[in-house]
């Protein structure tokens, strides 16, 4: 029954079976034997036009847009483990574009627009749910700051609504309005924000990229770079040397380690960020809510679990686990915001490694080495940026110039002083 598969998988020809109602009925009638794998688990070739290091959401999205938008199909995505095994599988799945700064906002809005059309683009159910993102404020100063942010968003064509306490109470009546240490004075709501299914995003991009001929190569760790003079001409891997016209790295969390192989020192520290999920409950949190008096964000997954997180632990770490003080801090913030969750049991917690840059904003840029391109420094905000990050990195790799919405994400902004400090915290990564 799999006789058709090997031939079809070796060549780039056959597209994966399209996911549609007609095909669902057709496959149901033939016992679901004909779906085939969603993407090809490829063997490395000797050379490619472009190699993308990192098989997470950003790397796979980059490969997809390289093939789709720029027609560059001789592309490999190298992943040291299995695709989606890093931060793509360790986030809190929030999507939003509620940014203040002109260097950030158009980029994240591009991402939001790509999210809105992603399922049609990829022919894959990425479960994009625009349930709204509500940032609560608890003081006059914070209200002013959020009003300013909302106005900046609207001037960029992004939806934003400033809600008073009564409007918030109608949306989420169970929040701690009565006895709160920091009473809720209102919130900034982006209705188009929400959540998406992280694993489906990885698989959707992998399937669409693979369909266009991109090789997805797993268990292939990059151990060094091939050089010809000052130019990077490929990578050394655990599965042999591979030549490439251009190499792009999209390995946020481990960017410094990879850059060190090319003798680059970056404005990045790696920190651990923990996230949590509770046992499944009946639906009660309708949107994504963030607590403004601490750092806490929560939403409810379609399975019913409460998915929440807070601050990074605050010290350099490559361990995908954190310590108890951060757990306690997150849970205290949760209790301060919604005491109703006090008797809910925590099911799981996990840690992801964040590329924390010195101004809290990402980097999508060329490097001092010709042929080597950098995508990293995503701090807390990598997941929501996945589509635009891939789109803009593909643009940079294909055309050698930054995409219009990603011009501010320069590597040399720390030398020139053009920082993109959305939070206004200065060069202290553990405060961003």
């Amino acid at each position: 029954m799999y006789a058709w598969r090997p031939k079809c998988c070796r060549r780039h020809c056959a597209n994966a079976v399209r996911y549609s109602l007609i095909n669902l009925v057709r496959q149901a009638l033939s016992g679901h034997q004909g779906w085939g794998p969603a993407w090809r688990d490829a063997e490395p070739k000797r050379s490619y036009d472009v190699i993308v290091v990192g098989g997470g959401g950003h790397g796979l999205a980059t490969a997809h847009y390289l093939a789709k938008v720029h027609g560059i199909r001789h592309v490999a995505v190298l992943e040291k483990g299995w695709i989606g095994s890093g931060n793509a599988g360790r986030n809190t799945t929030i999507i939003r574009s509620n940014y203040l700064l002109p260097g950030n906002n158009p980029f994240y809005e591009l991402s939001m627009k790509l999210w809105e059309g992603l399922e049609q683009d990829l022919n894959f159910n990425t479960m994009v749910s625009q349930r709204g993102v509500l940032n609560l404020f608890h003081s006059d100063a914070q209200r002013d700051a959020y009003a300013r942010r909302g106005n900046a968003m609207r001037m960029h064509g992004v939806d934003a609504e400033l809600l008073g306490p009564e409007a918030v109470r109608r949306m989420l009546p169970f929040l701690n309005f009565a006895a709160a240490r920091f009473p809720i004075q209102g919130g900034l709501l982006q209705r188009r924000g929400g959540t998406a299914r992280h694993d489906a995003v990885v698989w959707g991009y992998a399937r669409a990229a693979s369909d266009r001929g991109v090789d997805i190569i797993q268990n292939c760790e990059v151990t060094g770079f091939l050089r010809n003079g000052a130019r990077i001409t490929g990578v050394q891997t655990t599965r042999g040397d591979i030549q490439a016209g251009k190499v792009g790295i999209a390995v946020a969390g481990h960017t410094s380690r990879l850059a060190a192989m090319a003798n680059l020192r970056l404005p990045i520290e790696s920190h651990v960020l923990q996230a949590f999920v509770s046992e499944a409950l009946k639906p009660f949190i309708s949107c994504v809510v963030t607590f403004g008096a601490g750092h806490f964000y929560i939403s409810q997954s379609d399975k019913g679990g409460l998915v929440f997180g807070g601050d990074i632990d605050g010290y350099n770490s490559y361990a995908q686990r954190g310590n108890l003080p951060a757990v306690e801090d997150v849970c205290e913030s949760g209790m301060a915001l919604m005491p109703a969750i006090g008797r809910v049991r925590m099911l799981r917690s996990w840690g992801g490694i964040m590329d924390m840059t010195m101004d809290g904003s990402p980097i999508i840029d060329r490097t001092p080495h010709a042929g080597l391109y950098l995508n990293g420094g995503w701090c807390y905000g990598g997941f929501k940026a996945t589509p635009a990050s891939g789109y803009c990195f593909a643009h940079l790799l294909a055309l050698d110039e930054p995409h219009a919405t990603a011009r501010a994400f320069r590597l040399d902004r720390f030398v020139s002083g053009h920082l993109l400090d959305e939070k206004g915290q200065g060069a202290q990564p553990n405060l961003h």
């Binding site: 481990h254 970056l266 990045i268 350099n316 490559y318 010195m358 030398v415 553990n430």
Partner: protein
């Protein structure tokens, strides 16, 4: 994580605050732009042993240089920063 403060003994992580990489700051020479950029913005960010500055904030308030493995969170050494900086 528990950090052995040379003054107070082994204490819980929650008593400390973190500053970051304990790499030496540049000498205040004539042309500061390049050395200051490197000191303020660039990091080695190693996976493995890392010398870093911690303050025993809710204890003796001493600044410490802690050598810690960033992959395992194992604390390898902790000395008073004052002594290390003098030496």
């Amino acid at each position: 994580m528990r950090i052995p403060c040379p003054f107070c003994g082994e204490r819980d992580l929650s008593e400390f605050s973190y500053l970051g990489d304990a790499a030496r700051q540049p000498d205040l020479g004539a042309d500061l732009a390049e050395p200051l950029f490197k000191a303020v913005y660039l990091r080695d960010n190693p996976a493995g042993p890392h010398e870093e500055l911690w303050q025993h904030l809710f204890g003796c308030r001493s600044w410490l240089i802690v050598t810690r493995n960033t992959v395992t969170h194992e604390i390898l050494a902790a000395t008073l920063a004052q002594q290390a900086m003098r030496g």
